[in-house]
């Protein structure tokens, strides 16, 4: 069992509240996943610039050491570095040489990604999610069944620029998919089955598919149980496998699209009483794009 939540705003006036709304949704999903929690937020970010989310210890001073033009914000065990896009390779190179103990867990123009072991309320507080603003966000509360309770195993997984995925379920052909994806240039940081699903979508997007087409492809190529919520720089999508054992509820208003493993996660959203609340059908891709 796991809990997943997502919030995609249509109304700009809610953007300053995105983090607070998402934090509440995650906390309500604690009894579906008390082991660890994580979230991705699509916040500010200019064209031509990149953000890298880095996880590890002793993060103070890294931005300074990287030199002029590189900004850094430390939030607990995570550091978000901002830089001109052309500097990304040299920053990654410096990190690999000087600080091999750190891992880059997310990269893109706007994505920031945080995850830690612990109760969702503790995790959201450590990173002060409630104060974050953005256009959309995705979160996950984990009850580990297949692998250890570690930060590496926490969701979301990000395997491509501004992309992220959260997963409730388990995949049975992730080993063979991994062998298929590695020669295509996909790199994996963990042994987790959900990371393979994320990389599968990244590969399809690289090949030119739209997000909806990439998800359609996963219906044929992934074997197992899944409810996915996926974010890109401008998009938000939901997909359930054809057997649809894993729960899912969507609420849509003219202000937002919200996803929860259970309706309970959505009860504190603005004007939820007037939302169109429905259960996404199995094997059908639901996708939204920002205008």
């Amino acid at each position: 069992m796991c809990g997943i939540v997502g919030l995609f705003l249509k109304d700009q006036s809610l953007e300053s509240q995105l983090g607070a709304l998402l934090a509440n949704m995650l906390e309500i999903m604690t009894d579906r996943g008390p082991d660890s929690a994580g979230f991705a937020i699509y916040g500010s970010g200019d064209v031509g610039y990149r953000k890298l989310t880095v996880r590890g210890g002793n993060l103070d001073g890294i931005a300074n050491a990287l030199g002029a033009g590189i900004a850094g914000i430390v939030r607990d065990s995570h550091l978000v570095l901002s830089m001109p896009a052309e500097e990304e390779d040299s920053v990654r190179g410096w990190l690999a040489t000087e600080r091999p103990d750190l891992v880059v867990i997310g990269a893109g123009q706007r994505i920031e990604l945080y995850k830690e072991v612990g109760l969702p309320a503790q995790v959201t507080k450590r990173f002060d999610l409630a104060a974050m603003a953005g256009t959309h966000g995705i979160g996950h509360t984990r009850m580990a069944t297949e692998s250890a309770v570690t930060t590496d195993g926490a969701h979301p997984f990000s395997t491509g620029p501004d992309q992220c995925l959260v997963h409730n379920g388990s995949l049975s052909n992730h080993r063979s998919l991994r062998r298929m994806l590695e020669p295509m240039g996909m790199r994996f940081a963990t042994d987790n089955d959900s990371e393979v699903a994320a990389a599968y979508l990244t590969w399809r997007l690289q090949e030119g598919s739209t997000l909806a087409e990439a998800l359609e492809g996963s219906l044929n190529d992934l074997d197992g149980f899944f409810t996915f919520v996926v974010g890109t720089e401008s998009g938000f999508a939901v997909l359930r496998d054809p057997i649809s054992c894993k729960p899912a509820v969507i609420a849509e208003t003219d202000q937002y699209v919200a996803f929860g493993s259970e309706y309970r996660a959505l009860v504190n959203l603005p004007r939820i009483n007037r939302a169109c609340v429905f259960e996404p059908e199995p094997a059908r891709v639901y996708a939204w794009e920002r205008n």
Binding site: I243, S244, E262, Y263, R264
Partner: protein, 229 residues
């Protein structure tokens, strides 16, 4: 009427108070406010009281119901009226998966749609869905009657025993051993009674429904299949 506000009272308190009622109670009408999708509301009732849930309910609402009437004024989560024995459960919105699973009696009415596995392993319950039902509905249904005014998803009635299924719209596909059957007068009569009981006196014409049930070819092991094991 007793009002219980779940923003102030716990669900366990609600259920305990309902379970403590004696058959001769005067408190026969309850209204549950601010349910907020909580699970296991009004489960295990066993006397003829009416409980209105003023909003969306979570999992297993009105599970194991006997004699009581439970009305959900929103959507119901997984397993509404699961293993109902008797009484009536009315969902005014949509129902999630496994509505009426294994239920042995009573009447389950869903005004909206029911998703996957509606009536799975039903054992005597009567289910009326005014909208459509999802895939794998009436899987291994053993007895009882299901009426669907809309459409049915994939694999309707897979491995069905003796339940009767009536569908007015289209059926995406039939499951193993489920076949369309002739609608005779006794079926039209049963259908009429059930539609009337669900409050659909003028809304549905029994002539528009098709009947589905078991071809009864999976009842016994067939020696020709021995090689499959």
């Amino acid at each position: 009427m007793r009002r219980m506000d779940l923003s102030e009272t716990t669900r366990r308190d609600l259920n305990s108070q309902l379970h403590a009622l004696l058959p001769n109670t005067d408190e026969t009408h309850w209204r549950v406010e601010n349910p907020e999708g909580q699970h296991a509301l009004a489960v295990g009732l066993n006397i003829p009281v009416t409980v209105e849930i003023a909003g969306h309910a979570g999992y297993y609402c009105a599970g194991m119901n006997s004699e009581a009437t439970v009305i959900i004024e929103g959507n119901a989560g997984v397993g509404v009226a699961e293993n109902m024995m008797s009484g009536r459960v009315h969902v005014k919105g949509d129902a999630s998966q496994s509505a009426g699973a294994t239920a042995q009696g009573g009447l389950l009415v869903i005004d909206g749609n029911a998703s996957a596995r509606c009536g799975i392993s039903m054992k005597g319950v009567r289910i009326v869905v005014k909208g459509s039902i999802g895939p794998m509905s009436a899987f291994m249904a053993q007895s009882g009657t299901m009426v669907v005014l809309g459409d049915a998803g994939d694999a309707l009635g897979d491995s069905i025993y003796e339940a009767k299924l009536f569908v007015r719209g289209t059926v995406k596909s039939l499951g193993a051993d489920c076949v369309e059957k002739e609608v005779r007068d006794e079926h039209r009569e049963e259908l009429r009674t059930l539609l009337d009981a669900a409050g659909l006196k003028d809304e549905a014409d029994v002539g528009e429904f098709k009947r589905y049930g078991s071809a009864r070819t999976l009842y016994n092991f067939h020696v020709d299949n021995a090689a499959a094991y």
